[in-house]
Amino acid sequence: MEQEIKTVKIRPEPPKKIGRHVIVVRVQHNFGVLARITNLFASRGYNIESLTVGVTHEPNIARITIVVKGDERIIEQIIKQLRKLIETLRVRDITCIPHIERELVLIKVHTGDEKARDEIMRLVNIFRAKIVDVSTDTYTIEVTGDIDKIEAFIDLLRPFGIKDLARTGTLAISRESAKHKYAKYVE
């Protein structure tokens, strides 16, 4: 009964390209809406790099910025699943259009001797960061920027001894100045 299998036919599938995507979601600012969104990521096994939420100038609307890594099919699914939520007003993947990304970080760094203090001050100036609190052996530094700048700054501070660190996660907004040129790429 068993016949030899000559060739096994396989459905052609497009190659997977993994990328970092910035997705902006506007939602009705209702009770439990954030839980709904985080639940969606947790239950479907998507990996979030960061998620930030805040209410907008319209008090009943909140805006969520999600940074997530995945291949195109996963990103597409995430966007569709987000759109499927009843309280979602708008979902945009702004990765490919001009946009501004910012993150705010607070870092407590060990200061040590005078040489170290000078060196940290120099870095703070170069990165246009700010020292917001000082104690005998600690500077608390505030810095904002996009992810590359933030990561570079943290790496440079590491050797001095970081005592604590708090990040807001990425916020993003599209560039109004490039709106018309790129309108066709949005939605």
Binding site: M1, E2, Q3, E4, I5, K6, T7, V8, K9, I10, R11, E13, P14, V27, Q28, F31, G32, A35, R36, N39, S43, R73, E76, Q77, K80, Q81, R83, K84, L85, I86, E87, T88, L89, R90
Partner: protein, 581 residues
């Protein structure tokens, strides 16, 4: 305007929604609502378990397309609904669940019978609401019905704290447009992109070996007529999923019956060799596709579905069309008629090939006059009901035999838990279906394992004189698990033997139902006919069937259609058929 209790407002809004039946069981947190139900203008069915109530509401909804309503108290009442909600969610069944919650000032204090029902049900409902202000109550309930029945339907839960049901307030029932406006992010009406429909028509004209792969979406969208029109026009053969059964008459010469794990040989062969697969209201579930990389390997795929998230989720498709199936099919037919080809001629060799496959391996089984074959029971039920009954099933082998050996001819005829696979679904769903469609004969075909999971609700069927027929395909096994053990675990039958069981005839009688039994093939017809003559009570028929019969054909989980087990073979060594790739 006079002020009313929250509980009375609920009843008023349900009435305005056209509700004629609610299913449920009361308790502390929802007592006020039950008090209001005492005078309600609609029917209130007291069940014996909240899970059964949820399945009844589900069966009611699937049999009619109307929203099923279920009620339960807080805590354990609500958690007992969970399986019923998840079942309805997976199969896109419109349902509204109303649960009592502890009073607002107790929420979060681990109060008596408090559970985070919103948190628990969030992933298994289309949406859910906690009512925090009596002013919102009428709008929230109307929103729940609107969300449940529109777009891709699904269950919606409304959790209402007890103090809100007791509080008095003036109110008006929001209008349809107010409800729509209150949900600015929810846009359930989609008609399908014209350019995509044109592309689909082009592919259909060019295809040499097309197959329609039809799912439950066709039934939900009430598009059977359109589907038949498309088939009559283009002569494309149709295979349906378990959920799609009834969308296309199975007696039609172009019917290929079910595809997938327990699909027919000819349906799976047709899909495997197709050059165009038109998926309509179906979602490429793993039980359908098997090994996805080898599913319809040479086919271009057109996928019509109302839920964008169903498209390109499991498989990449060539022409996605997001829209209501009924509207899209109407437009597609119009487009195809604009530019007709000689359909009969184009199909000739493909349909001939399919005819051969049908002859080679028809759907069949080894008959016996000594022992009752489960498939024979289903065929006999088809005979005595003249193919016109509504059929429900539990989950397991009997469910598959029920899907395979009854020939369905109209939508909403076969109700079963396809997505979640919930044992215990069939019997209560049959009660719900019979309440919704009293003019129809309703049969629940149950496994002995499945039936016992909601057996308590025989009391409900007796109390309300619901004359359904329950047929137990009694193999004294958790048969489907046993079959997998036989095939894939070297016949090590771990925890599947149900030899300790009640005497189902006496059990039925003790509830006030009628109990019947058949142990020999020649008794089957007689017993079924006797059951058909009883119209004032439920009848429970214990059919002692061949204990180790297997469901075949079978594509083992995660395997390709090439590796179909077709013949029973020796015990423990069912023969795998390898198609030449």
């Amino acid at each position: 305007m006079t002020a009313k209790r929250g509980a009375d407002i609920i009843v008023d809004v349900l009435n305005a929604e056209g509700v004629d039946t609610v299913f449920g069981l009361p308790g502390g947190a929802i007592m006020e609502v039950y008090d209001a139900l005492f005078n309600a203008p609609f029917r209130n069915i007291l069940t014996r378990h909240e899970q059964a109530a949820a399945h009844m509401a589900d069966g009611y909804a699937r049999a009619t397309g109307k929203v099923g309503v279920v009620m339960a108290t807080s805590g354990p009442g609500a958690t007992n609904l969970v399986t019923g909600l998840a079942t309805a969610y997976m199969d896109s069944v419109p349902m509204v669940a109303i649960t009592g919650q502890v009073p607002r000032h107790y929420i979060g204090t681990d109060a008596f019978q408090e559970a985070d029902v919103i948190g628990i049900t969030r992933p298994i409902t289309k949406h859910n609401f906690l009512v925090t202000d009596i002013k919102e109550l009428p709008l929230v309930i109307r929103q729940a019905f609107y969300i449940a029945r529109t777009g891709r339907p699904g269950p919606v839960l409304v959790d209402i704290p007890k103090d809100i049901t007791q509080q008095k307030s003036e109110y008006t029932i929001p209008t349809d447009s107010e409800v729509e406006k209150s949900l600015p992010g929810y846009k359930p009406h989609v008609e399908g992109n014209y350019l995509q429909i044109k592309k689909a028509a082009e592919l259909i004209r060019k295809a040499k070996r097309p197959v329609l792969y039809v799912g439950g979406g066709v039934i939900i969208s009430d598009a059977s007529k359109e589907l038949q029109e498309l088939v009559e026009l283009t002569k494309i053969p149709v295979t349906t999923t378990n959920m799609g059964k009834g969308a296309f008459p199975e007696t039609h010469p172009l019917a290929l019956h079910m595809l997938g794990m327990h699909g027919t040989y000819y349906a799976n062969m047709a899909v495997y060799h197709s050059d165009l697969l038109i998926a309509v209201g179906a979602r490429f579930d793993d039980r359908v596709t098997g090994k996805i990389q080898e599913f319809a390997p040479e086919a271009k795929i057109i996928h019509i579905d109302i839920d964008p998230a169903s498209i390109s989720k499991n498989i990449t498709v060539d022409v996605p069309i997001v829209g209501d199936v009924k509207i899209v099919l109407q437009k597609l037919i119009k487009e195809l008629k604009k530019n007709p080809i000689q359909w009969e001629k184009a199909r000739k060799s493909w349909l001939k090939q399919i005819e051969n496959w049908k002859k080679e391996h028809p759907l069949t089984y080894i008959k016996s006059d000594k022992i009752i074959k489960p498939q024979y029971v289903i065929e006999e039920i088809y005979e005595v009901t003249k193919g016109d009954a509504i059929i429900t099933a539990g989950v397991g082998q009997h469910q598959m035999w029920t899907a395979m050996f009854y020939k369905y001819s109209f939508p909403r005829q076969f109700l079963n838990s396809g997505g979640l696979g919930t044992m215990g679904y069939g019997f209560p769903a049959a009660i719900g279906a019979k309440i919704a469609r009293p003019e129809k004969e309703v049969f629940a075909i149950e496994g002995d394992g499945s039936f016992i999971m909601n057996i308590q609700d025989i009391a409900t069927a007796v109390q309300y004189r619901i004359p359904i027929k329950v047929v137990i395909i009694n193999n004294e096994f958790l048969g489907m698990v046993r079959q997998w053990q036989e095939f894939f675990y070297d016949s090590r039958y771990a925890s599947v033997c149900l030899s300790v069981q009640p005497d189902f005839v006496k059990l039925a009688e003790s509830f006030g139902a009628v109990g019947l039994r058949a142990t020999k093939p020649k008794e089957v017809k007689k017993v079924l006919q006797e059951a058909m003559s009883i119209n004032d009570r439920p009848v429970i028929i214990d059919m002692a069937v061949d204990r180790e019969e297997n469901v075949l054909p079978m594509v083992p989980a995660g395997k390709s259609y090439r590796e179909m087990i077709l013949n029973p073979g020796e015990k423990g060594k069912a023969e795998t058929m390898y198609l030449v790739g």
